[in-house]
């Protein structure tokens, strides 16, 4: 069992592309760490460097206490689940799982025992004699997991293992993976671009963009206290509303011609940062906007509504600016209605308009 420590990691591909920039990441033992970010942000590259499949351009990488920059994949005691599973097509499921153990000269009956146990956990006992091509996507995915489990690695690496599955199976496998993590008590590093996976599975989340780490924190913190505009916009669906504003020392934040009074706590923080009279980006999550009556809120026009079963997303306009709010599906808001949305001032997010960093956290 081991943690993974990454210091100032950089990857520059031979064609000169700088894919990973100064990444620092300290992954504790037994943690379920999620790397999340939009396509092309360097998640896979980072994971492959941890696995040893990609050379490290500069920086240091430790697994446990050992510096592994120059250690080849086979000596890192890691296991990896590839996006396309990468099962050996010419071997049966059993042999796929046994391959790594045989290479390590594990005794035959121990191999057998470990495979039986893993197969039981993953519910693939009936499939052991089959070839990979005789399996469904979900079964292949479980075999790929099985191949990783039986080796009892110090670190599990997974690169979007659920992305090939249909929505229902994905939800089911998500739960299975969380269970598996609890059972195995091993470090997991999991790459995804799906924010739901990130929020539900991780003990901590590392949000990346353009090769740069944006924020590393537990899911709750990422959601409630995003460190910058990117994290705030990437996590959460529908997306957080953003608008430009200016802080006055009343203390209020002026948005267009409207003023919102800051909560005492926020006023305090902003004052300490010397940001009175500064231009800011204001953010508010859709669920932090409530429907009010005409005396409470500003008049707004409903443009589109989206019913999502339990929730109703309402797209509305105040002046020329569009917003989204989330309300109960029972409310009978219709397109063209005039509503009076109320912003929950305690849930406001304020970002510096230049650095886009949060002023609050």
């Amino acid at each position: 069992m081991a943690g993974v420590k990454i210091c100032k990691l950089n990857k520059i591909y031979p064609n000169g592309f700088h894919a990973v920039k100064d990444v620092n990441l300290d992954i504790a033992n037994k943690e379920f760490m999620i790397l999340v970010g939009p396509s092309g942000c360097g998640k896979t590259t980072t994971l492959r460097m941890i696995a040893g499949l990609e050379d490290i351009t500069t920086g240091e990488m430790y697994i446990g206490d050992e510096l592994v920059n120059e250690v080849s994949p086979k000596d890192r005691n890691i296991a990896m689940v590839f996006q396309n599973y990468a099962l050996y097509p010419h071997m049966s499921v059993y042999d796929n799982m046994a391959f790594g153990l045989k290479l390590k000269k594990t005794p035959k009956d121990e191999i057998d025992e470990r495979i039986k146990k893993a197969a039981k956990i993953l519910d693939i006992e009936a499939l052991l004699k089959r070839k990979p091509k005789q399996l469904s996507g979900g079964q292949r995915q479980r075999v790929a997991l099985g191949r990783a489990i039986v080796r009892k690695p110090e670190v599990f690496l997974m690169d979007e293992p659920l992305s090939n599955l249909d929505a229902k199976l994905r939800v089911q496998m998500r739960a299975e993976l969380i269970k598996l993590h609890n059972e195995l008590q091993t470090t997991f590093i999991y790459v995804t671009h799906d924010q739901t996976e990130a929020m539900t599975m991780g003990t901590r989340i590392c949000v990346m963009n353009d090769g740069v780490v944006q924020q590393v924190a537990d899911p709750r913190t990422i959601y409630n206290a995003p460190a910058n505009v990117f994290v705030a916009s990437f996590i959460g669906a529908p997306q957080m509303n953003f608008f430009k504003g200016k802080i006055a020392d009343t203390p209020v934040v002026e948005v267009a011609s409207h003023v919102f009074k800051l909560s005492d706590h926020m006023a305090e923080v902003v004052k300490n940062k010397g940001k009175f009279n500064a231009e800011v980006i204001v953010g508010i999550r859709p669920e932090d906007i409530k429907l009010g009556n005409s005396s409470e809120g500003l008049p707004a026009k409903v443009e589109v509504t989206e019913l999502l079963g339990s929730d109703l997303n309402v797209y509305f306009k105040i002046g020329e600016k569009s917003y989204i709010m989330k309300t109960e599906s029972s409310s009978d808001v219709k397109i063209g209605d005039t509503i009076y949305p109320v912003f929950d001032m305690n849930k406001l997010h304020l970002f510096d308009s230049e650095t886009e960093k949060s002023l609050l956290y």
Binding site: A51, F82, A86, P89, H90, F99, R151
Partner: protein, 301 residues
Amino acid sequence: MKKQTKDHLVFWLFLAPALISFVVVVIIPFFMGLYYSMTDWTAVADSTPVWVGLENYKSMFSDFAFKYSFIRTFLFSVLSVISINLVALTFAFLVTREIRFKNFYRAGFFIPNLIGGLVLGYIWQFIFKSVVPSIGALLGIDFIENLLLLADPNLTLFGLIFAFTWQYAGYIMMIYVAALLNVPQELLEASEIDGANFWQKLISITIPMIAQAFTITSFLTLVSSFKQYDIIVALTNGGPTDLYQGQVVNSSELLAMHIYNVAFKYNNMAEGQARAIIFFLVLSVVSIAQVYYNKKKEVEM
């Protein structure tokens, strides 16, 4: 019903050109050959062939030169298949790595295949007879200076195999290159993470994944070494002669050449034809067995 008849007509119409030419140039000559192999035909004009039954086959099996040629051909084929495939596979590995000028190397290894066997044979004759000894003299190594591969009945086969490998390995290499490029990189990476070193990756992943190429290459090399003719004509023309079990034999007269000699040099057309039939049968059995065996080992994807 109507449509079906029309479909049938179209089917046969399209098949006809290929079928007719196949029948005319392969099937009919084959059966004519079968017939002639049981006569005393000599291809002399005006003489009608006389039916002799299996006489030609009997004499063939009691002919020492034929048996000798047969054994030498087997030896040559087995060694050639091994040597060509080893060289081709090694080169294929080298030119599929991330090296500079790899396309240049690929083309370079392939070019000998474009040179005709006769020309190539004469080039290698020159090399074996003059270049190798003079290099030996230059280096002062007696062994190399006195190494006359083509003049020694025991070594001449190796000279042939060497030249043949040089000609054919580049072609086979191309087949391996295509196969190697098709092996998913992810599988190799997965096996690396599973703990495989270079050789374990090669044996457990790469080789099984290119099994299909093995079927093709071993078929091609087997058949073409069995039928090898032109390089031998240019290199040794069957020689040098040797004494084997008290009989005079031509140490590099392989089957194709043997048959040619019997038929055209000694003008025993019918006898040559009989040997060609046996040659055909043996080659068919061997290559079908080989393809069958290799097919079984191929990976189902």
